[in-house]
Amino acid sequence: MSLPFYVPPEQLVKDRAEFARKGIARGRSIVAIEYDQGILILAENPSDTLHKISEIYDRVAFAGVGKFNEFESLRVAGTRNADLRGYLYSRSDVNAKTLANAFSQTLGNIFTHEVKPFEVEILVAELGINDVPNHLYRVTYDGTLSDERSVCAIGGQSEALDELLRGASFTPKPLETTIRRVAEVFGQVLDRDIDGWEAAVLDGTESRRTFRRLSDADVAAALS
């Protein structure tokens, strides 16, 4: 009987992390940023139908970068979880923290137990209500969960985008100004033409389902 080769756990984790990071670095970035009446989520996405940004619940949105089938399965699981909770208890019992936690558990388990880790990064945004602040959660391929303030970027160029958008101090601006600013920073960081936008907002002026997609025309109008 032959013994399997011994691989130290440090090496195993390092190899897997490197593999996942490589996949994500190829992915296009997504930014979530507060504006004066809500949260804007903007992504570079050439497709009109294969969405990277989606509605999860009344005040919660989801965005994913990396392999489409992998973050799509997480999105579906998240929507099921949220609808189930809202139906069994109350609509106000659905929140981003629980969902981000569930994503974190799932990704963490897949990272250590499965043959191949998921090559994805997930963003969960929640619009605050009644003096509760907005929440932006970021979950990475290994299940690391972080809570960001005001600005959250995921994907290949996330660090550069985050740094430029946050600047020295951050104050929420009107929607159109915010779209222009994010587009400008994308241009600066990527140094090439953008291959189509996908944009959505969690709109604080809506009372129940706050998620709304912005059409190409809406984005073009803000950028002109």
């Binding site: 139908t49 969405h51 989606s54 999860i56 929507t79 099921r80 609808d83 189930l84 139906y87 389902r209």
Partner: protein, 252 residues
């Protein structure tokens, strides 16, 4: 493909959480609150739906202010008659089902698709109906592709019937329909349809004791909603009060 699909009910079933009742043999004699007259009519830009507010338990008024007309999703409304407790739960499941489908698939079901699904939900209640716990909905909405308002009535076995002009269900339905038969015109505009709808409800409440008419002294007004190109909208309470007092004036 693996289950569950885009259906929320399938998801509940896979987890053993679907609504279910263990019923004793034979016909039940439970006294449960019954919800009564709801009606809908089409007009040039969409549909109007009106419902009374009273729940009746035998000879008693169980609740004076229950809601029987609900937003199903952005472009449709659903109203209920029959056993109130079961009906309200059915509506909640129906709303979740439509929203769940919309979010997973990224597109809304067609109006006919929603109506068919509601019929299936009513059919699943059939064992309960044999126990005397009947639920009959009324469904109306704005067809986004054909740009018209449509409405559907149901029977106890889940049969779905599209009505071109008006429909009503509940104990006061016969009288409401009798009023609408003479008042309905194909060229009704929104204000005309609102007036006809509220008057039909008042006419039903006059004859049917289980239907609660508008009670201006107590401030009890019927639920009146419209579904048009703009989506589902509750009609302003002030407008409903004026319509109701005018309708009561005519009767007097």
């Amino acid at each position: 493909m693996e289950r569950p699909t885009s259906s929320f009910t399938d998801l509940l079933e896979s987890l053993g959480l679907e609504p279910k009742w263990n019923l004793p043999e034979g016909r039940g004699t439970l006294e449960v609150p019954i919800a009564t007259t709801v009606l809908a009519l089409t007009f040039v830009d969409g549909v109007v739906m009106v419902g009374d507010r009273q729940a009746t338990e035998g000879h008693l008024v169980a609740h004076r202010l229950i809601r029987k007309v609900f937003e199903a999703d952005r472009f449709s409304a659903v109203a209920i008659s029959g056993t109130a407790g079961i009906a309200v739960d059915l509506v909640r499941l129906f709303q979740t089902e439509l929203e769940h489908y919309e979010k997973l698939e990224g597109t809304r079901l067609s109006l006919e698709g929603k109506a068919t699904y509601l019929g299936r939900m009513v059919r699943q209640q059939l064992p309960l109906a044999f126990q005397g716990l009947v639920v009959i909905p009324l469904f109306a909405g704005y067809d986004e592709s054909d740009k018209v308002g449509r409405l559907y009535t149901y029977d106890v076995v889940g049969g779905r019937y599209e009505e071109r002009e008006y429909g009503a269900t509940g104990s006061g339905a016969r009288d409401a329909k009798a009023y609408l038969r003479s008042a309905y015109r194909a060229d009704l505009d929104e204000s005309g349809a609102l007036e006809a709808g509220v008057r039909a409800l008042v006419a039903a409440a006059e004859v049917d004791t289980a239907t609660g008419g508008p009670d201006l002294a107590r401030g009890i007004l019927p639920n009146v909603v419209t579904v048009t190109e703009r989506g589902f909208e509750n009609v302003d309470e002030e407008v409903v009060r004026d319509l109701a007092s005018a309708a009561l004036e005519v009767i007097r």
